[in-house]
Amino acid sequence: MNRLQVELPGLSLKNPIIPASGCFGFGQEYAKLYDLSKLGAIMIKATTLEIRKGNPTPRVAETSSGMLNAIGLQNPGLAHVMEYELPWLEQYDVPIIANVAGTDTTDYVAVAEKISTAPNVKALELNISCPNVKCGGIQFGTDPKTASELTAAVKAVSKVPVYVKLSPNVTNIVEIAKAVEAGGADGITMINTLIGMRLHPKTGKPIIANGTGGLSGPAVKPVAIRMVYDVSQQVNIPIIGMGGITNAEDVIDFLSAGASAVAVGTANFVDPFVCPNIIDELPQKLDELNCEKISDLVGRSHR
């Protein structure tokens, strides 16, 4: 028996550790450092219909135990991802979760329909929560009705299960979670980054060219845990949790809060081997908790 095995809609994961979208590109860079087949799955960079150039620089700023980013969904576009990135990833024994973004519903639907036909794409992650683009992204994720309708539209065309990525920049995240569940979502991924700003001590102006950026890293973990805790008790679809994970203990926390698997983002920049290291650490953590298999931990905070 594999103690780390996790079964989710569309995804049979050999372990619950997934690099988060935007922090792992399309895998090529990290493949130079370790075997990607070791990972539970890979969430690839947001893909849009057309190529996106992203925001001006500086795009990142360091903050206390965290960072702000405003990359602006730069990506090579759907055609390139279908032709080069996804086929390249086929050499690894790892399911791909395709992060889908767009400006309007037509965009999302077009990307979802096409990208869900790639043989190694086992699930979609609908990005309705990017805080760094003017059109598309977060405005889909802050209104329950819009979120629900978009989910339904994408569900209607996708050949694989659809997970919706929620934004923490809302008053009531449970309401949005319920709305996407009603729209037919197979799962939820959460959280995307929290909108923040850092000023330059000398000029007094924002460091990030975009002004605001999305906060990620250890600083956001308590917020993410609270949200997973709340949402998991109100919906009947599984959650992939993320926000500030850096080690195996953080993973256990997210599972206890109610997530079934987790994604690791910013920590890859600090330690490029963080994902395989966590995977290696997990069995010992389970022993310490007298826990036979990892899925037994899910939701123990509120059981």
């Binding site: 935007g22 922090c23 792992f24 590109g25 090529q28 860079e29 990290y30 130079k32 450092l33 960079k45 150039k53 992203g54 001006p56 620089t57 500086p58 795009r59 990142v60 700023a61 360091e62 903050t63 206390s64 135990s65 965290g66 960072m67 980013n69 990359i71 730069q74 890293g217 250890p218 850096t246 910013t266 890859n268 920049f269 600090v270 330690d271 490029p272 081997f273």
Partner: protein, 258 residues
């Protein structure tokens, strides 16, 4: 090959105002070949500060499995780094990026190396490698003031070396381009690292020369995965943006929009 290693501090000393020379020992030194590549340094074992700091490789000593970097202790991370003592370990990721192409200068030719401030360090390994293959080097190094000048002796041992200070407290007063205008040197290829206005002035001063420039941008991963460090390109290049960490940090002249 890119490696991550906890390398040991061999020597660490201050060599000018806020400028430190740090020599580390470890297997990773054997992976370093090209001047102008950089390493990504984790200055603390905690998550404070969070991100790694990119610092150029200044010289490589494979025989002793060592490499040296020079850095300015300015902010939070580099100040923490400056506290490391011989025997301490530092988490290094590297070597990263594409450095200066030594092969673009032929034996018997002359190369002009222009550095500004903390852009000077990578030119040292470059000069060593160029001289080793019989390329003559001219060094023009710009600093703020006399207290910021470093490595004059080391560069002088390799070739003609000119120092410029902005306030005139040492060497020629002004910018490197002022001195270049007086000097009017004969050369076949130029290599440069330093502030953007300097790189821009060089491109304009030598419109017909072959040249290679090293750029800086704020980074996340340092590996090419996060799109944090992009720079805008000129119309001459197909891609609109290139990544400083993995496509650069060194680009041929005319590639990056200045």
């Amino acid at each position: 090959m890119i490696k991550q290693e906890r390398m040991k501090v061999v020597r660490h000393k201050q060599i000018a105002d806020d400028i430190f020379e740090l020599t580390l020992i470890g297997q990773l030194s054997l992976e370093m070949k090209q001047p102008g590549q950089f390493v990504h340094i984790r200055v603390s074992d905690s998550f404070e500060p969070l991100l790694r700091r990119p610092i150029s490789i200044c010289s490589i000593d494979p025989e002793h499995m060592e490499f040296t970097m020079l850095y300015r202790a300015g902010g939070r991370g580099t100040k923490l780094l400056s506290l490391k003592q011989p025997g301490d370990e530092v988490d290094i990721l590297g070597p990263l990026g594409n450095g200066f192409p030594v092969e673009e200068a032929n034996t018997g030719e002359t190369a002009l190396l222009v550095g500004g401030g903390i852009g000077v360090p990578p030119l040292y390994e470059l000069s060593k490698q160029l001289n080793a293959k019989g390329v003559r080097t001219i060094h023009v190094l710009g600093f703020q003031s006399i207290n910021n000048v470093f490595y004059e002796k080391q560069f002088s041992e390799l070739g003609e070396t000119y120092i410029v200070t902005a306030d005139g407290s040492y060497g020629t007063k002004g910018f490197v381009t002022d001195l270049l205008a007086q000097l009017n040197p004969e050369f076949d290829v130029f290599y440069s690292c330093g502030p953007l206005p300097m790189l821009k002035a060089l491109e304009q001063t030598y419109p017909d020369k072959k040249g290679f420039l090293s750029f800086e941008e704020r980074m996340g991963c340092g590996l090419g995965a996060c799109y944090a460090c992009v720079c805008k390109t000129t119309d001459a290049v197909e891609n609109d943006y290139l990544k400083v960490c993995s496509d650069g940090p060194v680009f041929p002249r005319g590639v990056v929009a200045l």
